[in-house]
């Protein structure tokens, strides 16, 4: 019997459920390792070598190297874990969130100052805006 996942039709949104967590375990634990300054230094010195210490998929490693957060999330990453990569890069949470929307930092910040992204047209996949 299949599980109840009523959130699959929310546009531009991936819910980090038990299934995504299973797929993203090593990716997220790699991110967690960046909480330690010595690990951040080793990662920055040779990103690929550091990633190769983790049993992550090649797709996950490539997504991290490219800082493609949408792809990381698709592959089981969770934003609170991925934020450790941003912290290592010296990025703010707002810059990280903005990077997933196709907007520039300035465009995203302006949108937030003006009240954020509207809910209208953003409730269901395929909904008319």
């Amino acid at each position: 019997m299949s599980l109840d996942k009523p959130y699959m039709d929310v546009p531009g949104t991936t819910i980090f459920d038990a299934d995504m967590s299973r797929q993203g375990y090593h990716l997220n634990q790699f991110c967690m390792s960046l909480m330690k300054a010595e690990n951040r230094a080793r990662f920055k010195a040779d990103e690929r070598a550091y990633l190769d210490e983790w049993p992550m998929s090649e797709e996950q490693k490539k997504a991290v190297l490219a800082r493609d957060l949408n792809r990381c999330i698709e592959l089981g990453g969770n934003i609170y874990f991925l934020a450790k990569i941003g912290a290592t890069d010296g990025k703010s949470f707002q810059q990280m969130a903005g990077s997933m929307t196709g907007m520039t930092d300035e465009q995203y910040r302006d949108m937030m100052v003006k009240g954020g992204r509207s809910i209208e047209g953003n409730r269901y996949v395929g909904e008319k805006k």
Binding site: T13, A18, M32, F81, A87, A97, T101, G115, I119
Partner: protein, 284 residues
């Protein structure tokens, strides 16, 4: 006997902590946020509790994916502010209340809520930002604090109904504690926000205001709202709002007492990616 005198609800946006720590609170961007808490700081000085039971969520700080407890009560004597990757916040150490925490754990577990007991835990912005908003930048927090961490990171998170009933059980536990302590319960997180994917930046003011209205006047009905409504209407991270129902469930009226008085209500958009909401309810 110990008694819950009031509940406080507030967002816990990390950028608010950073703004305060970096001395940016007077900047035009941040000024309206902190202004909304001026009343609250004075209120807390005038109504200083003996203990704060602080409901928050850990953001991949104390709990990695190695262990994901749904409800975790901090029973330690103290808790250190965590390094979340930007260095630890320059805020006081959090002093716990192991005796009351252990009492609550025993009572609530006997009431069918299977808590995880945590004797060692660093606390992240989810816990320290509400304290900063309500207390400013003191040398020490005003009283001992019992951290209560809720999983809202990995879905499914506990339901609103479950959180609300848990609040009721926490109230019963506090009321059965022999010392005459004045306890406040704080629910934190929210309001509408989404930090991930192409829909990042979502804010839904109508949802947030309706949530505040219903939290005050119809908590029972609000507790029945399914997860999907939070996710769809308030954003994937807006689901943090279920934690407010724990604090609301601990108020007297839920257990047959009088309706609470709304002492303060504040709402502002934005703080970084998030809508800031804040309420103070006093028991009568």
């Amino acid at each position: 006997m110990a008694h819950i005198t009031a509940s406080v609800y507030t967002s816990h946006v990390p950028a608010i902590g950073a703004a305060l720590d970096l001395g940016k609170s007077a900047e035009p961007y941040w000024q309206p946020v902190f202004k909304g808490y001026e009343f609250s700081k004075q209120w807390l000085r005038d109504h200083r509790p003996d203990v704060i039971f602080l409901v928050f969520n850990d953001h991949a700080t104390a709990f990695s994916l190695d262990m994901i407890p749904t409800f975790a009560i901090g029973t330690a004597a103290e808790f250190t502010p965590a390094d979340e990757g930007w260095g630890p916040r320059p805020v006081p150490k959090v002093i716990g209340h192991p005796k009351l925490a252990a009492h609550i754990a025993q009572s609530v577990i006997q009431d069918d809520f299977d808590l995880t007991i945590v004797n060692k835990m660093d606390v992240d912005h989810g816990l320290t930002v509400p304290l900063s908003l309500m207390c400013g930048q003191p040398q020490a927090w005003p009283c001992p604090i019992i951290p209560f961490a809720v999983n809202v990171v990995q879905y499914p998170v506990p339901s609103g109904r479950r959180c609300y009933m848990l609040g009721k059980a926490i109230r019963k536990a506090v009321e059965s504690y022999d010392e005459p302590l004045n306890v406040q319960i704080w629910g934190t997180g929210g309001m509408s926000h989404q930090l991930q994917g192409p829909r990042a930046g979502l804010i839904n003011k109508e949802f947030d205001q309706a949530f505040l209205d219903r939290l005050i006047g119809d908590p029972e009905g609000l507790a029945a709202m399914p997860h999907i409504d939070y996710v769809r209407e308030a954003g994937s991270e807006g689901i943090e709002l279920v934690m407010w129902l724990i604090a609301r469930g601990a108020m007297d009226d839920v257990s047959g007492g009088k309706k609470p008085t709304v002492r303060h209500r504040f709402y502002h958009v934005p703080a970084s990616n998030t809508a800031v909401g804040h309420l103070i309810l006093e028991n009568n």
